[in-house]
């Protein structure tokens, strides 16, 4: 027995060493917070376990516990941020800035070490801050928003786990750990989307989110496996990215991995064509939506691309190109997701499609090589999208509905604070200067390298089509956000009862987020401002973008005044058209007809054929849901025999007929003897007959009685064992 005890003892010792902060790992003097960043995901995990076990006996029914844990994570993340800034500045920018990497051996199997550890660089430190910051505000907000819910404690437990899972994912230093984090995030979102599972709609939405993500997870697993073998049997992120960045890995393998991982991103980050789960996920409580859309679930995909960027950079040949899969997926998503937002009446669904569209911007930016721009957009988007979601929650708290057309309108007078913050976040999302969204969106457009006027931007490629789609997307974004603001806050109130402003615990997060939505953009001012000191420029990019062997040498685009001007004008034009329609014509018409209208009764949709067709297409969300449930699922579960029959009738016969038409005699002979005689009679019908009779005979074995199956199982294994022993004894 002693060896077992010894193993257990050494495991305990290893655990104790890791807790003590020393051990068989390289510790560099990057700072206490960076070296001990494993505490950051650990705190919410402990909180999850505590809330789940002690539950309602805790103060505040568990909410306090969650808030304290996440606040602790936020403090540690800020400490890590400060440490990272010092670390970054203490190392010269030319010889690279090493990431802080610590790991423990988890298990060893088949000669491969599976580690668990932390990998911290500017990217993960930034993500740690965003996740814990948004999560803390969502926690505070939820104490009011879901108060009185029957599963209040349960809700906070899973909010903690959700945060922990995302933090764990962000700090992971190897692919296996990433997969674990990725799936944990998926499970938590499943639980939280289905929080009110008593309603069929909600549990269906949760299932849809989960199952759609499984489709992408297939891509994730294949991609990660390919990377594992391509990079020489290792899961270590740094090793893989270093080897790929140095060009030591075959291009084909990297391309395959990149494509597979793109599929994973499409499902996780709601990209076309796997975006359908994201709007349905609005069935969950609003704070969860805010968390999913701003900081946790959907940005996991973006983070994964950013973390494994050499894979995409090399695999997709981003440099010097003008089109690639990632950029196309992103730009199509940003445009078509934006269009869908126009026809939704549910305020949260509009915001959901807006997220789809904004994630499209990020994926597109990564696809065109504008790494920093994508991550910066993730950063600013987190603030204003969280603010918008929490604002919509505040509104629904007052009117008990999410439907803008039937239950909202004129809330500006009743809810001045919500209105103010919502409008600030809206302007940030529309990308109007000088709010946050402008800077990040402008940087993405610059990074496409498609702008050639006034000296151009000198980016990594010439993605002109992406630039155009990004600009149209900006106009679309501005237009649908004006629509939301009008329908919700202006006109006359259309709902029931008297709406009231929400309490302090809801308003405080709104104001904090609105503040960041205004100022976050100044963190990465482009280099064009000569009157500002040099050290104020591109702070975000300087600290977040890795300068090391594990990151490709990407080119940095030159900011362009003319492009910024044009994109602002385009966004303003989109906003202006929408403003004219709602704030002038609809409002005027409402005054004339003395009722609160939401659209013109004789507007373009009711007059023209084309607008009506487009409207129907958008209302049905391009028929993607019909495609998935009606066509794909039915084919998979439907009779494949019919397909085979169809194939036989159309394809095989069709081929024969086609040949017959050219040479009739040969065709007839072929038809009579080959097709009818051999193919139809012998092969097709014959195989059908064979399987039919085989099925008829075999079905007698299927008695449905488990114990008979077990008897057969045991009998067969006894025979096999007997044969085996005899062979061995021979």
């Amino acid at each position: 027995m002693s060896p077992t005890v010894h193993i257990a003892g050494s495991l305990l010792a290893a655990a104790a060493e890791s807790v003590g902060g020393s051990g068989p790992i390289s510790v560099d003097d990057a700072g206490w917070f960076l070296n001990n960043a494993w505490l950051i995901p650990l705190l919410p995990t402990v909180s999850f376990a505590t809330i789940l076990l002690l539950g309602k006996r805790l103060p505040g029914k568990g909410a306090i516990c969650g808030i304290i844990a996440v606040a602790g994570s936020l403090l540690l993340s800020c400490g890590a941020g400060v440490n990272w800034i010092t670390h970054r500045d203490s190392v010269g920018s030319h010889d690279g800035v090493p990431a802080v990497h610590r790991s423990l051996e988890w298990l060893r199997s088949g000669g491969v070490d599976h580690d668990v550890g932390i990998l911290l660089d500017g990217l993960s430190v930034m993500m740690l801050f965003v996740v814990s910051f948004i999560s803390l505000l969502v926690h505070v907000y939820s104490t009011d928003y879901v108060s009185g819910d029957s599963r209040y404690t349960h809700f906070f437990a899973f909010l903690s786990l959700f945060t922990a899972a995302m933090l764990f994912f962000v700090v992971s230093d190897n692919l296996l750990q990433m997969i674990v984090g990725w799936e944990l995030v998926g499970v938590c979102s499943f639980v939280l989307i289905g929080h009110w599972w008593e309603h069929r709609v909600n549990s269906n939405a949760a299932l849809k989110a989960f199952l759609t993500n499984r489709v992408g997870d297939v891509g994730l697993l294949i991609g990660m496996t390919v990377l594992f073998f391509a990079a020489g049997n290792t899961f270590d992120t740094l090793t893989i990215t270093k080897r790929i960045a140095a060009g030591e890995v075959g291009r084909t393998a990297v391309l395959v991995a990149a494509v597979c991982l793109t599929v994973a991103v499409m499902s996780k980050s709601g990209q076309f064509v796997l975006h359908t789960w994201l709007p349905d996920a609005m069935a969950g409580p609003t704070p969860v939506s805010a968390l999913i859309h701003a900081a946790t679930m959907v940005v996991a995909g973006i983070f994964m691309i950013a973390r494994l960027y050499p894979v995409f950079w090399t695999g997709m040949s981003i440099e010097g190109s003008s089109i690639n899969l990632l950029a196309v997926v992103g730009s199509v998503t940003l445009l078509f997701g934006g269009f869908l937002a126009f026809t939704q009446d549910d305020i949260k669904k509009v915001l959901a499609y807006s997220t789809v569209s904004q994630l499209g911007y990020m994926v597109m930016a990564l696809g065109v090589g504008a790494w920093t721009a994508a991550i910066f957009h993730l950063f600013t988007h987190a603030f204003f999208k969280a603010c918008l979601f929490l604002g919509s929650g505040s509104v629904s708290h007052a009117v008990h509905s999410f439907n803008m057309k039937t239950d909202m309108g004129g809330l500006r007078k009743h809810m001045p604070h919500t209105h103010r913050t919502f409008v600030m976040a809206t302007i940030a999302l529309m990308g109007l200067p000088p709010l946050a969204g402008f800077w990040s969106k402008d940087e993405i457009l610059v990074g496409t390298g498609g702008w050639g006027l006034f000296g151009g931007t000198q980016a990594n490629g010439a993605y002109t089509s992406m630039l155009v789609m990004g600009m149209i997307g900006a106009a679309v974004t501005a237009a649908y956000m004006i629509r939301v603001v009008y329908l919700t806050f202006y006109g006359e109130y259309r709902g029931h009862g008297r709406p009231h402003e929400s309490g302090l615990r809801i308003l405080l997060p709104l104001y904090v987020l609105a503040f960041f939505a205004v100022v976050a953009g100044f963190l990465n001012l482009p280099k064009g401002f000569q009157w500002l000191p040099e050290s104020w420029h591109e702070r975000f990019g300087h600290y977040v973008e890795p300068v090391a062997a594990y990151f490709p040498h990407i080119g940095h685009a030159k900011p362009s005044w003319s492009l910024a001007l044009v994109s602002t004008v385009i966004a303003l034009a989109g906003a202006g058209v929408s403003w004219h329609y709602y704030f002038r014509r609809v409002r005027h018409r409402s005054a004339v007809e003395r009722m609160s209208l939401t659209e013109l009764p004789d507007g373009p949709v009711s007059r023209g054929v084309v607008p009506r067709a487009v409207h129907t297409l958008l209302v049905n969300k391009y028929y993607f849901d019909h495609l998935y449930t009606g066509v794909i699922v039915r084919i998979v579960k439907g009779p494949l025999a019919r397909l085979a029959y169809w194939f036989n009738q159309r394809v095989i016969d069709g081929v024969v007929d086609g040949t017959g038409r050219k040479s009739v005699v040969a065709g007839r002979v072929l038809y009579r003897y080959f097709d009818q005689g051999l193919l139809d009679n012998l092969i097709v019908d014959g195989s059908g007959r064979t399987s039919d009779s085989a099925g008829e005979n075999l079905r007698r074995m299927q008695t449905g009685k488990v114990q008979q199956y077990a008897a057969v199982l045991f009998a067969v294994s006894a025979v096999i064992a007997g044969v085996f022993i005899m062979v061995l004894a021979w």
């Binding site: 077992t4 299927q702 008695t703 449905g704 009685k705 488990v706």
Partner: protein
């Protein structure tokens, strides 16, 4: 150390388990018989492990115990649901999959 007695015990347990799985009608008894089978294997593993002075056998037995725990958890849940739906735990009556 003689291996025989351990192997005989394990073989006996295995046979009892197989007998139980095949003839008992009560689902819970069937599950318990499955446990017997698994544990007879555990005895073999530990016995061989001790015989060869290799901890692998014991470690593997631990794995088997963990997996058996999971298996019985799922099995009991199935039996419970079956009882809820059909008011019986008799496996002979669960033959809806008959071809």
């Amino acid at each position: 150390m003689l291996l025989n007695s351990f192997l005989l015990l394990a073989g006996l347990l295995f046979c009892i388990g197989v007998y139980g799985v095949l003839v008992r009608r009560n689902g819970i008894m069937v599950l318990m018989s499955v446990e017997l089978i698994l544990n007879s294997v555990n005895i073999n593993l530990v016995a061989f492990g001790a015989f060869h002075g290799d901890v692998g056998g014991e470690v593997f037995a631990l794995f088997v115990i963990a997996v058996a725990a999971a298996e019985v958890g799922i099995g009991l849940a199935i039996v419970l649901l079956m009882y809820r739906n059909r008011l019986t735990t008799d496996f002979a009556e669960a033959d809806m999959l008959k071809g």
